[in-house]
Amino acid sequence: MSEPLLEVRDLSVDIVLSRGTIHAVDGVSFALEAGAAMGLVGESGCGKSMTLRGILGLLPRTGRITGGQVLFEGKDLVKGGQRGLREVRGGGISIIFQEPMTALNPVMRVGDQIAEGPRHHLGWSRSQSRARALELMRMVGIPDPERRMRAYPHELSGGLRQRVMIAIALSSEPKLILCDEPTTALDVTIQDQILKLLLGLRRDLGVAIVFVTHDLAVIAQTCETLAVMYAGRVVETGRVEQMFREPHHPYTLGLLRSVPDFDAVRDSLEAIPGMPPDLASTFSACRFAPRCQFAQDDCLAGEVDLHEIDGGRTVACLHDDACAAAASADPVIARV
């Protein structure tokens, strides 16, 4: 394998709140090849968005990277400081947010917002940038772009706004796009269009994508590899189809079983019992153990780290074979 485009090594992020310090991201590692698509899933508050923001140094005011490395094309963005980050933002890595209404400047015409990147980062002239904006709007499937360029964000529908966001993300020709729940705020038909668009762009432009989402169906449609996060840590990584067929971590299995499905009708949806732990606390046991059906006494002995299993996968579970066996006995793949 060649050098990965993005490699996150042991990234930790703390956020200071009035009630204490939250270890939102706690030693997360993953890698991504150029042109690849990776999913990052987990329930709300598990640190997946903060991981994404940590990569670009866009943490909230009280947030801080407390350890680890983010290597983009071999350069450490954590050590590079603001200068290094600004070089890579927009040009090398761009980001798409969940809510396209709030992520677009309400008083700027969308054409200007798309043209700003090329003009500023690539040093293009005004007319060149405008032409580029027009081309991008056409590329992301915005009809009648000549007229829409002059529109303000509130004049566009949700789907069009997200297309504008994508056009902005593409405008400086990045090698990697970070998508923070890009389709969550959209209804399903539009969601499907946006995903197809992102896939098409990935195929045509060779841009790598990281999808942060809690929607496994989105992952199934778009990604080759997947990292599952729980309580600030990665608990399982691997190729999507393997992980869906035979999840080795009980949390992954729980996530898969809680997806509703029309093909294989079941009596009821299986929810994961319990609540995720408070990330302000310190852990001396497997973080998932209190909610885990496979948990045994040794799970409480200490934190469980990722270890490699067959097929280049990693999992952070002491009883992953039991979990895999349970998954084979009652397959979940048909459901996604």
């Binding site: 927009g90 709030t102 992520a103 400047n105 309400p106 009809p143 529109a151 902005i168 197809k196």
Partner: protein, 290 residues
């Protein structure tokens, strides 16, 4: 590059056609009323040399303290000068000084408010403590004290109003920026690698400047009153140049017998104040974000 997506057909293409400033201003009554009043005042001031029947400083000692007549529409003062002509010329001075005096504090307050709100920390503490000190003094006391120290004259009026007036703009901008900078589009702009200066100028300022503009309209009224007050106290525009404040002060001693000398300049001040207030109200309506 290849086309990646087919155009979409299932979505409504435009949710709502926003009616812009130019489609709405003439349907905002207070804005139109204010515009008309101020328009008339400014036009008359600008055309003073054409409209005024007499030289404002010409003394006709045979015509002292005349009442309104066809020859002198608003009568004459104690030196035989035509009050109507003097009022027109006074409008030139007072309006010009008031409009200009608002510009400097607007710019300085906006810049300092942006820095303070955007960066926070020590910059914020520094600027805001300065603001507290200025705000602790009553507006007029500070202005009058400063002009008294610096000496009367237009230039010193500008300096005094700027030194006192910037705090309001700094406060407004700081508050607005504090709210706006938490918006996701600011995060997105940072994510796109733009510099702080660019984010403030291109992304934040257009979103927050409205409040400052609306305030500036009422601030002109305040400045006009300050200039008139200074004139009344003899610290403002110096005689023989006509100014509404000095005219009110000069007429005061004849108030029981010749009420028109003080009343007409006073009415002029009220009308300009009313016009600017209406204009400010209308602007606030028009520029209010959706």
């Amino acid at each position: 590059m290849a086309t990646a997506a087919a155009p979409i057909a299932t979505e409504p293409l435009v949710v709502e056609r926003h009616r812009g400033f130019w489609q709405r201003w003439y349907r905002t009554p207070s804005f139109v009323a204010g515009l008309v009043i101020i328009g008339i005042m400014v036009t008359m001031a600008a055309l003073a040399p054409v409209i005024a029947p007499y030289n404002p400083n010409h003394q006709d000692l045979t015509q002292l303290l005349q009442g309104p007549s066809s020859k002198h529409w608003l009568g004459t003062d104690n030196l035989g000068r035509d009050v109507w002509s003097r009022m027109l010329y006074a409008a030139r001075v007072d309006l010009q000084v008031a409009f200009l005096a608002v510009c400097f504090p607007f710019i300085i307050g906006t810049v300092l408010g942006c820095i303070s709100g955007f960066y926070g920390g020590w910059a914020d503490v520094g600027v805001m403590r300065f603001v507290d000190v200025v705000v602790a003094f009553p507006f007029y006391v500070l202005i009058i004290a400063m002009v008294f120290v610096l000496g009367p004259g237009t230039r010193n009026i500008y300096i005094a109003i700027t030194l006192v007036g910037w705090v309001s703009y700094a406060r407004i901008l700081r508050g607005e920026i504090l709210v706006a900078k938490r918006q996701e589009y600011v995060l997105a702009a940072r994510g796109a690698g733009f510099s702080d200066a660019r984010i403030v100028m291109r992304h934040l300022l257009p979103n927050v400047i409205t409040q400052a503009i609306v305030f500036a309209m009422s601030d002109i009224v305040l400045d006009l009153l300050a200039i008139v007050t200074l004139g009344y106290l003899g610290l403002g525009i110096q005689p023989p140049t006509a100014d509404w404040g000095t005219m009110i002060a000069d007429g005061e001693q004849f108030l029981t017998t010749h009420w028109q000398l003080s009343t007409f300049p006073g009415v002029a001040v009220v009308i300009v104040g009313l016009g600017l207030s209406l204009l400010g109200d209308g602007l606030a309506d028009l520029l209010r974000p959706e």
